[in-house]
């Protein structure tokens, strides 16, 4: 329970870094959760993200699982609220303001400028995640197969995730 204020502080801060998607905040989440606060190990964070992929809903609901592991049910609720409420309020406010700034010349500059940066941040997060997730040639093959399958087919990606989990049970022990 004594971790609750720290959980609120960290996840509220992380919520403002999710520019372009939750993955953009992953590098900072790793720093805060693993290196600074020692709530989880590197491997546990990868596992928690993986369970987030298998569960319905936004994959960044994984923050609730981090809260659960650190401070039980209260931690889960606090983390989810701290992570989603600030960014939700900000999006609502900025969305309203953005519509009013229709004629502002810098509006287009901000949109055009931040789009590639958001993609770069997310890909940076993905690389950091991938360094922990891709540990041997079998994981390389699983990642490549999923990449190709998602790009080439219309099959629900959840099926690939679940299949990889089952393959992992037999092959990655």
């Amino acid at each position: 329970m004594d971790q609750i204020p720290a959980l609120i502080r960290v996840f509220a801060f992380l919520s403002f870094l999710t520019i372009g998607g939750g993955m953009a905040a992953f590098p900072e989440m790793k720093v805060q959760v693993v290196a600074v606060n020692h709530w989880l190990t590197d491997e546990q964070l990868i596992h928690v993200y993986s369970t987030g992929q298998m569960s319905p809903g936004p994959n960044m609901m994984m923050v609730a699982e981090i809260g659960q592991l650190v401070a039980g049910f209260t931690g889960a609720v606090v983390c989810a609220l701290a992570f989603f409420v600030p960014t939700g309020v900000l999006t609502f406010g900025v969305g309203r303001l953005w519509n009013r700034l229709d004629k502002w010349p810098w509006r287009n500059s901000i949109q055009k400028g931040l789009a590639p940066v958001a993609i770069g941040l997310a890909v940076g997060g993905l690389i950091i995640f991938g360094k922990g997730a891709i540990t041997n040639w079998i994981t390389v093959v699983l990642a490549l197969l999923t990449f190709v399958a998602v790009n080439r087919t219309k099959v629900n990606p959840a099926l690939f995730i679940l299949s990889a989990g089952v393959i992992g049970i037999f092959v990655l022990k």
């Binding site: 659960q68 931040l114 789009a115 590639p116 995640f129 999923t146 995730i161 990889a164």
Partner: protein, 103 residues
């Protein structure tokens, strides 16, 4: 996710659970890479965009600058690069104004 957290807390020491999650993590990497590949293909255009994508990736992975600093520096440059163009008066307009001032 709370249930997933409880289940993970109870079974994370079991080798089969860890192995399954390693498989999921690998597939998640491929899935995310495919998602961002598709988004990038649709929304990125030109050399500037490529430079800012690479800049943000290097800021996070190579320089380990952290998300806030990378966003501030690379984002600042990107917005400046796409700044609104100031409309300069052309030489012809200046000349016409000068001729009008003679009348």
């Amino acid at each position: 996710m709370v249930l997933a957290g409880i289940a993970y807390g109870q079974h994370s020491v079991r080798p089969w659970a860890t192995a399954g999650l390693r498989g999921v993590a690998a597939a998640a990497t491929g899935l995310l890479a495919a998602t961002w590949f598709q988004i990038g293909k649709k929304s990125l255009k030109g050399v500037y965009d490529a430079v800012f994508v690479v800049g943000a990736i290097l800021g996070i992975t190579y320089f380990k600058a952290g998300v806030p600093l990378t966003l501030l520096v690379v984002g600042g440059f990107a917005i400046f690069a796409y700044r609104p163009h100031v409309k300069h008066e052309t030489a012809g307009e200046e000349n016409e104004e000068w001729i009008r001032s003679l009348h």
